[in-house]
C-alpha cells in the first residue's frame, strides 16, 4: 500500500473529524467531550475541557454569542443544545482547583499588546505563557474593554475580576491610559513601539478609533488591510484583530478571543522565523465534514431554566446534556460485527493494516484482523465517502501472499476444499446429450452441490427444456476461495481453466445458481454473459408443478452480499417468492445494504467468533423464517439454529421434509455430495459410469466426534489416512487405561491424530485432533 493511498483512505474516514459545534466554535472547545463528562456527572472534568480552550471561562460562559449552536445537529431535528448554559453549569459546579500558571523561562523577545479587550488579553496571556516579555498598552484605566458595557446582571464584575486574576501570576506589564497611534501628539507612537518591540498586536476595538491613525495600509473602505489567516497587516511586525477587524456590527466575544489566539500564534512564528501561513486552515471556525446519522433520533424539546439568573439546576443540565447527540459517524461500525469487534473504526484500521504490512521484523498483530473481514462491501456502501474495507483487506491479503507472510493455517482448509472441487472427483464439462455445441452453460457452483445436490439435476433439466440450442453443464469451483484468500495466481489459473471449459463448449453464456460464482465471473470474465437462475426463472417462468409443496407463509428475504448491487436479481427473487404464494418481510439490512452470512471472505475460517457474531445478529433481525438464494448463507444461518429455506427448497421441496430446520451438511459430507452428484449426473443424463466411490475403510463416527471434526476441520478422509497409515506400518500406540489405539499421520502440512477402536469391520472414532507443528524426533 502506497503511503499516498493510505492518507487518501484515512481522509475518507471522517470519524475523527470534529463535530459541527466544535468546528464552528472559533476556539474549538470540545463540546461533545464536555457534555459527555456532564452526563457522567463529572462536572469538574467538563469544566477542564471547556477551560482548556477558553482563557476567560467565567466571561465566555455568560456572554458567548454561541456560533457553535448554528452547527449543532439538533438544528435539523428540533433546537440546538444550550451549549453556553452547560458551560456555565460546569463552571459553577467546578470544585477543582485552577492550577497556577507554570512560569516559563523568559525569552528575550518583547511583545506589545495594544488594547486590553478580550482579543488583546488573550494574545497577551498566550504569549506570556510562552515566555515572551509582554506589555499591554490600554487607553482606559482597566482591562476588559467593551465587556464593561454589559449589564452587571448578565456579567457580574466579580466574574470578570476572577477571570482576569489569571494575570496575577504572570510577568505581564500594564500601561494604562496609554493611547497609541501615529499622531505626533501621542506620547506613544506605533512607529516607536515597533522599533522597541519585536512584534505588536493591535486590538483596540472600534470605539473612538480612527484606522488612519496607525500608518497601516487601508482598503477601499478605509479599513486596515488584515490577512484573515494570520492577522498580519502591511507592517511586518504588526498584527491586528478583534472588533477592530470585524467592526462593531460583528461583535463576538469568542471571535475576539480566537483573534487574540491566532495573533499570538503568528507572533510566536514571527519571532521564531517560521512560516506565518503554513497549516493554519483550521484555526478559526470551519465547517465540519463529520457525518452523523439522525434518521432515528426523536425530537426532544430544549430544556428551559426555572431560574435563568442562576442557570441550569443539576436536573436541568443533565436533561439538556442528554439532548446532545455526541455526534460521531460510525455508520459502518454500527452495522458490521467485524468492524465493531476490533473496537475501533476504519481510519485506525487502515493505518494498522498499513503498519502491519510494513513490518520487517516482529509480530504482525493485525494478520487476523485483515483476514477476518468478509469482504462484503457493506461499509463502502454505508460510508459517506465510500471507504471500502473490503478493498483494503483484500489488497492486504494479496500483498501478504506475495511476500510469503500469509499465515499458512488461515485459508489452507478452504483452499483444499476448492482443490477437491476442481479435481476429477467433481469437475465436469459436457454438452447437453445430443448436442455438439452449447448455447449456454449451467454452472451450479460447488457449495450448492455440496449442500443440496438433489436440486441440480432438476434445474439442469428445466434449463435444457427452456433454452434452445443446448445447455452444457460445468461442475467445479469458481475460484472464490482463492480470490478471498488473496491468492491471485491461483485465482487466475482457475479462471483460465473455466475460460478454457467455456471455449471447449463453444459458449459465451454462463448461468449459475450461486451468488458468489456470479460475482466472481462478472468480475473476472467481463466478456462472458453471466446470469443467475433466478432472473431466468422470473423471465422464463418457474418449473412446472414447483412450489406446491411448501405452504404459504411470511418469509424474510436475506440478500446475498455477493449480489449487493444486482437490483434486477433482488426483484426477480422477490417475484418468485410472491409467485409461490408467500409474503415477504424485508429485513432492516436488505438489498444493497445486506450483510454477509459469515462465509464471505473466508471469515469463518479466519475468525469463527466474529463470523458467529455476524450470523447471530443477522438471524435475530426477524422471527420470520428466512429465505436465501445462496447455499452457504442458508447453511450458516441453519447452523446457528435459524429456520431458513433455500429458495430452491420453496420451488422443489415439501413441508414434510422440514427443510427450514434441515441441518447443514458437514465438510466431509459436502465433498461426498459433490462426488456423488457428478457420478449420478453422468449416469442419469449421459449414461456413463465412473468407478463407484469405494470407502477403503468404514468409519463409525458418533455425533460428538463428528462435532469435534467440524470444529477442528478434520475430514473423514484425513482420519482414514491416519488409520491406513497406522494399520499398514504398525506405528500406533495404545492407551492401556481404555485400550484405545492412538495414531498420527501427516499427509501434507497438518499432522492428524486419531483415537480409535476396531469395531465390526470398521473403526469407532473416539477423538481426533491436529496440529501444524512438525515432529522432527
Amino acid at each position: 500500500m502506497e503511503q499516498e493511498i493510505l492518507h487518501e483512505r484515512e481522509r475518507k474516514c471522517i470519524q475523527e473529524n470534529a463535530p459541527g459545534c466544535t468546528a464552528e466554535c472559533p476556539v474549538h472547545v470540545d463540546i461533545r467531550g464536555m457534555i459527555a463528562e456532564i452526563r457522567k456527572k463529572s462536572y469538574s472534568a467538563g469544566f477542564l475541557i471547556f477551560q482548556k480552550k477558553v482563557p476567560f471561562p467565567g466571561i465566555i460562559s455568560r456572554i458567548c454569542n454561541e456560533p457553535c449552536r448554528n452547527a449543532c445537529k439538533r438544528v435539523e431535528i428540533d433546537e440546538p443544545v444550550s451549549i453556553r448554559a452547560l458551560e456555565r453549569f460546569c463552571l459553577d459546579k467546578n470544585t477543582g482547583i485552577i492550577q497556577p500558571n507554570f512560569l516559563p523561562q523568559l525569552k528575550d523577545k518583547k511583545i506589545a499588546i495594544i488594547g486590553a479587550g478580550l482579543s488583546g488579553l488573550t494574545a497577551a496571556l498566550d504569549l506570556a505563557k510562552k515566555g515572551y516579555r509582554v506589555t499591554i498598552f490600554e487607553a482606559s484605566d482597566r482591562m476588559g474593554g467593551g465587556i464593561h458595557d454589559i449589564p452587571h446582571s448578565e456579567l457580574p464584575a466579580e466574574i470578570i475580576a476572577k477571570d482576569f486574576s489569571v494575570f496575577n501570576g504572570l510577568q505581564v506589564g500594564f500601561k494604562y491610559n496609554a493611547t497609541i497611534s501615529n499622531r505626533s501628539s501621542e506620547a506613544f507612537s506605533l512607529d516607536r513601539i515597533c522599533t522597541e518591540y519585536d512584534a505588536v498586536y493591535l486590538g483596540v476595538g472600534c470605539k473612538d478609533v480612527n484606522a488612519n491613525d496607525f500608518g497601516l495600509t487601508l482598503d477601499a473602505n478605509g479599513k486596515i488591510v488584515i490577512d484573515p489567516l494570520t492577522l498580519a497587516t502591511s507592517h511586518p511586525k504588526v498584527f491586528a484583530g478583534g472588533t477592530l477587524r470585524r467592526g462593531s456590527e460583528h461583535h463576538s466575544p469568542i471571535v475576539s478571543i480566537s483573534d487574540g489566539r491566532i495573533a499570538a500564534i503568528s507572533i510566536d512564528r514571527l519571532c521564531q522565523s517560521a512560516s506565518l501561513s503554513a497549516n493554519r486552515e483550521r484555526e478559526g471556525p470551519y465547517t465540519s465534514s463529520l457525518y452523523t446519522n439522525i434518521t432515528e433520533i426523536p425530537a426532544q424539546s430544549v430544556t428551559y431554566m426555572a431560574d435563568p439568573v442562576s442557570g441550569f439546576t443539576e436536573e436541568e443540565a443533565l436533561r439538556e446534556a442528554g439532548r446532545c447527540l455526541l455526534c460521531e459517524c460510525l455508520e459502518c461500525v454500527k452495522k458490521c460485527e467485524y468492524l465493531a469487534h476490533y473496537g475501533s473504526y476504519p481510519k485506525r484500521y487502515v493505518r494498522e493494516i498499513y503498519n502491519n504490512l510494513s513490518i520487517v521484523m516482529g509480530i504482525r498483530h493485525s494478520n487476523q484482523m485483515i483476514n477476518s473481514c468478509s469482504l462484503c462491501g457493506l461499509c463502502g456502501e454505508l460510508c459517506p465517502n465510500e471507504l471500502d474495507m473490503a478493498e483494503v483487506c483484500l489488497e492486504a491479503r494479496q500483498i501478504m501472499v506475495k511476500k510469503g507472510k500469509m499465515p499458512p493455517s488461515t485459508h489452507e482448509f478452504a483452499l483444499r476444499d476448492m482443490h477437491f472441487s476442481n479435481s476429477d472427483q467433481f469437475i465436469l464439462n459436457r454438452h447437453q446429450p445430443g448436442y455438439k455445441s452449447s448455447k449456454a452453460v449451467f454452472f451450479p457452483g460447488c457449495q450448492l452441490a455440496g449442500s443440496a445436490p438433489h436440486y441440480i439435476k432438476k434445474i439442469y433439466e428445466f434449463l435444457c427444456k427452456k433454452i434452445e440450442g443446448g445447455v452444457g453443464l460445468m461442475l467445479g469451483c469458481c475460484g472464490a476461495p482463492a480470490d478471498w484468500a488473496g491468492q491471485e495466481a491461483l485465482t487466475s489459473t482457475t479462471m483460465q481453466s473455466i475460460r478454457q471449459n467455456l471455449r471447449d463448449l463453444d459458449s459465451i453464456r454462463l448461468i449459475t445458481a450461486c451468488p458468489s460464482c456470479f460475482r466472481i465471473f462478472n468480475h473476472y470474465l467481463p466478456d462472458i454473459h453471466i446470469e443467475m437462475i433466478w432472473t431466468l426463472f422470473d423471465q422464463l417462468g418457474i418449473p412446472d408443478n414447483s412450489g406446491s409443496g411448501i405452504s404459504p407463509h411470511t418469509l424474510a428475504v436475506h440478500d446475498s452480499c455477493a449480489t449487493r448491487y444486482e437490483t434486477r436479481l433482488h426483484k426477480s427473487v422477490r417475484n418468485i417468492v410472491i409467485r409461490l404464494g408467500h409474503k415477504i418481510e424485508e429485513l432492516p439490512r436488505t438489498r444493497e445494504k445486506t450483510i454477509c452470512c459469515g462465509y464471505g471472505g473466508l471469515m469463518i475460517f479466519a475468525n469463527r467468533e466474529v463470523a458467529h457474531k455476524e450470523i447471530n445478529r443477522r438471524i435475530s433481525e426477524s422471527t420470520a423464517d428466512y429465505v436465501s438464494y445462496c447455499a452457504m448463507c442458508r447453511d450458516n444461518f441453519a447452523s446457528r439454529g435459524k429456520r431458513v429455506y433455500h429458495l430452491l427448497d420453496l420451488l422443489f421441496g415439501n413441508d414434510i421434509q422440514h427443510l427450514a430446520d434441515k441441518e447443514a451438511p458437514g465438510y466431509s459430507q459436502r465433498q461426498e455430495n459433490r462426488a456423488r452428484l457428478k457420478r449420478s449426473l453422468l449416469r442419469e443424463i449421459w449414461g456413463e459410469t465412473m468407478d463407484e466411490m469405494q470407502q477403503k475403510i468404514k468409519l463409525i463416527i458418533p455425533g460428538e466426534t463428528r462435532q469435534i471434526m467440524e470444529d477442528r476441520m478434520i475430514l473423514d478422509n484425513d482420519i482414514i489416512q491416519v488409520i491406513v497409515h497406522a494399520e499398514s506400518t504398525g506405528n500406533k500406540m495404545q492407551d492401556t487405561a481404555n485400550n484405545h489405539f492412538l495414531a498420527y499421520h501427516k499427509p501434507a502440512n497438518v499432522t492428524y491424530w486419531v483415537e480409535y477402536t476396531p469395531q465390526n469391520n470398521g473403526f469407532l472414532i473416539h477423538n481426533t485432533y491436529c496440529h501444524r507443528i512438525n515432529i522432527v524426533k
Partner: protein
C-alpha cells in the same frame, strides 16, 4: 513447551515395540523454527505422543505466534 504429565512412564504403549512411552527429548519444528521439548516417546523406536490438550492449547498458540512473525 512441556507435556502436561510429568510422570517418568505413561500408560501409553508403543504397539510395535511393546514398550511403555517415557518422557524424553523431542525436537518440534514450525516454519523453520526448532524447539526441543520433553514429551512421551517410545524408548525403542522413538514414536512420539502429543496429547490433545497440548495440540489444541499451547501448540496452537505457538503456531499462531510463529505464523504472525
Amino acid at each position: 513447551m512441556s507435556a502436561e504429565f510429568n510422570l517418568q512412564q505413561s500408560k501409553i504403549l508403543c504397539v510395535k515395540c511393546g514398550e511403555y512411552l517415557k518422557t524424553g527429548s523431542v525436537t518440534l519444528e514450525y516454519l523453520g523454527n526448532n524447539f526441543p521439548v520433553e514429551l512421551y516417546k517410545c524408548p525403542q523406536c522413538g514414536l512420539v505422543f502429543i496429547p490433545e490438550n497440548l495440540a489444541t492449547g499451547k501448540m496452537q498458540q505457538v503456531e499462531k505466534m510463529l505464523e504472525d512473525k
